[in-house]
């Protein structure tokens, strides 16, 4: 039996029919068509389906679609402002912190929540924040470098009042 669910994704209100067994991941990808959020393991280990739920990283595969009403969901599609990439996305491109790219959307969202809470994270802070995002290509070093560079770029911009 399908149920109507209303939720806010990337600032837009959506009303869609879901099966009670559908996860937030299925809601995003199959009902709303936001395929930037990836499914890897489907059981909460790999973090490729990371989205922000009221600003906090969660695995979209471990949330039911029916749990979404009343919450604000941010996916990778809502991170850039028009053509302007988020500083984390820009740094990942510049540093080469992405290879096949499958884990990258989840890493961007984990890093976004980290930098919102902690604008000057240590290397250990960064590694702990992305411990739930598995990457089988990069070896993580360039991902960590990119997040540190994004934090620094953001701090500089704020210091200069821009």
């Amino acid at each position: 039996m399908k149920v109507l669910v209303s939720c806010r994704v990337n600032g837009e209100q959506h009303s869609v029919l879901v099966d009670p067994r559908d996860t937030l991941l299925e809601l995003l990808r199959e009902r709303i068509g936001l395929t930037g959020t990836k499914e890897g393991c489907g059981n909460g280990n790999c973090g490729t389906c990371t989205v922000l739920f009221d600003g906090m990283p969660v695995n979209a595969c471990l949330v039911l679609a029916l749990e979404a009403p009343g919450h604000e969901v941010l996916t990778i599609e809502g991170v850039a402002r028009g053509p302007e990439l988020d500083p984390i996305q820009r740094a990942l491109v510049e540093v080469g912190g992405t290879q096949c790219g499958f884990c990258t959307p989840g890493i961007v969202l984990s890093a976004k929540a980290l930098l919102a809470a902690n604008p000057a994270p240590s290397e250990l802070d960064i590694r702990q924040a992305i411990a739930g995002n598995l990457c089988r290509c990069t070896g993580y070093n360039k991902v960590v470098d990119a997040i540190a560079a994004a934090a620094q770029a953001t701090r500089k911009r704020l210091d200069h009042g821009a």
């Binding site: 099966d19 009670p20 695995n59 471990l62 702990q128």
Partner: protein, 292 residues
């Protein structure tokens, strides 16, 4: 996955009615339940989301002292709560060991308890703080000491229709220290192959007035280490007493060999982690201590 009905009742009374039917399952963070349902390890006809019930998702100081943790409060909410961070730092630290940040933001402390994994990271520190499980059903409610809550791997004393409402912690006294140490092959995103929580309360003369040692992943359930506690109680802390207590804790363990580690290795880890845990408590109590 079998089809189920999802309900999110606004009160405990309504949740208990929803849970009284056949094959109803409470849902808090879902980080254990949803994979279990998807992989067919559990079945539910009705999934009862508890997160719209304020009492179950909050942490509050009790008027008579101590703190009550709502069973559906997330690990992150518990770790960040002012009373937990100030008075129960070992519980806050344990909550930050559960899975990843993504998991901590959803997984509940009550779910970690009810899932009853012998390796559950938050349980040893809760036991050290004399946690009591408050449980309700349509027939009334009862309190169960956490050390009497587990009956085997994945098994608890909860009967069908019973719901864990909260975990009540005893007041944290002055001159008391608690720590939880675990060993995992990987630093992050791994399951303990041994974990030890140690609590030490000092009397005015620096003897040990109260102690609790609780073990994870070295038995069919989380365990107290009674003979290790008996060695510490009434004594002053020094290296010899700590070493004797650690050896006793290894004997209190009921470790098995499995794919993750051998029983011998688990016992050896229990001894080392107990000794280090006692040393960590000694340091935070500002006792002179010449190393672990």
């Amino acid at each position: 996955m079998r089809e189920f009905v999802y309900v999110a009742p606004p009160s405990i009374a309504e949740a208990l009615i929803e849970l009284s039917g056949d094959n109803a399952r409470p849902l808090a963070g879902g980080t254990d339940l949803l994979p279990q349902l998807r992989e067919g390890r559990r079945h539910a006809d009705r999934v009862v989301d508890l997160k719209r019930i304020g009492e179950l998702t909050t942490v509050r100081r009790l008027p008579q002292g101590g703190v009550e943790i709502g069973a559906a409060a997330s690990a992150t909410a518990v770790a960040r709560h002012e009373a937990i961070a100030a008075d129960y730092p070992a519980i806050a630290a344990s909550a930050r060991l559960l899975g990843s940040v993504q998991v901590q933001n959803r997984a509940s402390i009550g779910g970690n308890v009810c899932n009853a994994a012998p390796s559950a990271d938050v349980v040893p520190a809760l036991m050290c703080h004399q946690a009591t499980a408050r449980v309700a059903s349509g027939d009334g409610w009862r309190e169960i000491g956490l050390e009497d809550f587990f009956t085997g791997p994945g098994k608890t004393v909860l009967k069908p229709g019973e719901l864990l409402l909260s975990l009540a912690l005893a007041p944290a006294p002055q001159r008391s220290a608690t720590t939880y140490l675990r060993f995992t092959p990987r630093r992050e995103m791994d399951i303990a192959i041994a974990g030890v929580a140690v609590r030490i309360d000092l009397a005015a003369d620096h003897t040990i007035a109260l102690t609790r040692i609780a073990l994870a992943a070295v038995g069919p359930t989380p365990l107290r280490a009674p003979s290790a506690e008996a060695i510490l109680r009434g004594h002053r802390l020094d290296r010899e007493v700590a070493a004797a207590a650690a050896a006793a804790a290894a004997n209190d363990a009921r470790a098995i060999s499995d794919t993750r580690a051998s029983a011998d290795y688990r016992r050896a880890l229990t001894e080392v982690l107990t000794r280090r845990g006692i040393a960590a408590c000694a340091r935070s109590l500002n006792l002179t201590w010449d190393g672990p």
